[in-house]
């Protein structure tokens, strides 16, 4: 190995050791002011970039969907005929739904102090771990607050706060655990799966859960109020140790296409 290669190797190994040590130590508080300052400079550009990207995506989506319109139109005409006959039957279900809503105590929006926030950035690894919003401590946002979209669907919770922005840990993040319950009253814990989906875990074997059940927040032991919608059960199976039941939950949200979310500031 010649001198030049040797010096490169030394530089590389020294830097690797130094930054490897830094990763292990992870002095979060030390770097917090740097993150704050960098975020302050970056957020305005991210806001512009995000808005532009969403607009561009909507335009490309429109053009790519033109080919599908004829097929969908025919399909919709057939569906319309079927739906007309179902409409009368559904009026009865509406009454039953109102009663269930009262029982589940689903969130009416006027109960909460909501702050609207624009999304300015997303997890660049594409793992569905976090989003960044343009509201921070200056606007009264603090850690642990729930974040929803307009219909009371849970997006995640505030993990870190800076002066002008905040990081929202999404429900699909593996570090997220949310105390939940199903529409039939079965209690469990919803966990994220690397952006691939959600798992409802630790449901007792004696509780009944089935495909199609809705999953909502239970409000137990956290800042997240009861009644925010999480998703619908797609699959049920026993846990690996066979002590509990598990269910795969699908959220109705497409996080990457969201533009505005709401921070729940109080009950």
């Amino acid at each position: 190995m010649n001198k030049l290669s040797y010096s490169k190797l030394i530089k590389f190994l020294s830097a690797l050791l130094l930054f490897g040590f830094l990763v292990v130590l992870n002095p979060y508080e030390f770097f917090s002011p740097f993150r704050n300052a960098f975020s302050f400079a970056l957020v305005p550009f991210q806001k512009i970039g995000y808005s532009f990207s969403l607009a561009a995506y909507n335009v490309t989506s429109f053009f790519s969907s033109i080919g599908q319109l004829k097929y969908e139109n025919e399909k919709l005409l057939q569906e319309n005929a079927t739906l007309l006959s179902e409409n009368a039957r559904l009026k009865d279900f509406e009454n039953e739904n109102n009663i269930l809503k009262q029982q589940l105590d689903l969130t009416p929006r006027d109960k909460y102090n909501l702050t609207a926030a624009y999304i300015v950035a997303q997890d660049p690894q594409g793992l569905g771990n976090w989003i960044e919003i343009d509201k921070g401590s200056d606007e009264g946002v603090s850690e642990g607050m729930a974040v929803i979209v307009s219909k009371g669907i849970l997006v995640g919770k505030i993990e870190e706060v800076w002066a002008k922005s905040s990081k929202v840990m999404l429900v699909t993040n593996t570090k997220t655990t949310i105390n939940s319950m199903t529409s039939m009253g079965a209690k469990g814990v919803v966990k994220g799966e690397y952006g691939l989906g959600l798992i409802l875990d630790m449901v007792l074997q004696t509780d009944e859960i089935k495909i199609g059940d809705d999953v909502i927040t239970s409000g137990i032991g956290s800042n997240i109020p009861r009644g925010f919608y999480i998703g619908k059960i797609q699959e049920v199976h026993p846990s690996n140790d066979h002590l509990f039941q598990q269910a795969v939950v699908t959220s109705p949200l497409q996080i990457s296409k969201l533009e505005v979310v709401f921070v729940v500031k109080n009950n």
Partner: protein
């Protein structure tokens, strides 16, 4: 001085694109434009000229992506060293055997990036089982393809920038005897 401003500007814009544009258009498998930028730049500038810039870019990327500080720095250090290692032994460029070498480096960079990230972020041993799953392997392969396509554009862009801003600034020194 203008070189430093341009380098910082390009890194900054790449980070903005990586945190805004790419997650929207590629919601499941996101190519890494910052990683491809570092790879292309190292091929063009060489280890010694780009070593410190790769550390700075990694630091900015860690701050912007809210990763543990040092994660992307380590990834970029590997990239810079790999490029230097292969450059000493093979002709690295966009023709002939060089294309295969570049494809190999894109693949290695993608793999190292995911491996470092998984090692740093995973705290639960159970989750390591997802690494061996088919979904994860397909994820890596698709990300490699996206990164490869992105690399071509990034490389061409950087060559153009170098030609416009740096080669044009070179002055001829005339020695009068």
């Amino acid at each position: 001085m203008s070189k430093k401003i341009i380098y910082i500007g390009i890194i900054f814009l790449a980070i903005v694109a990586q945190t805004t544009f790419f997650p929207i258009f590629f919601s499941r498998i996101t190519p890494d434009v910052v990683l491809m930028l570092i790879l292309a730049w190292t091929i063009l500038d060489g280890f010694n000229n780009f070593f410190l810039w790769s550390i700075l870019a990694g630091l900015f990327y860690d701050l912007a992506s809210m990763s543990v500080i040092g994660t992307h720095i380590i990834v970029f250090l590997f990239v810079v060293y790999f490029v230097s290692f292969f450059s000493n032994r093979f002709q690295v460029g966009m023709k002939g055997l060089g294309v295969i070498i570049i494809a190999l480096m894109i693949g290695l960079s993608t793999l190292v990036s995911n491996a470092v990230f998984v090692l740093v972020e995973i705290t639960n041993v159970e989750k390591i089982s997802i690494i061996g799953s088919i979904k994860f392997i397909v994820h890596i392969i698709l990300e490699f393809v996206y990164n490869g396509i992105l690399f071509v554009f990034v490389y061409a862009f950087l060559k153009k920038i170098k030609k416009t801003f740096f080669l044009g600034n070179q002055k001829a020194i005339i020695i009068k005897s």
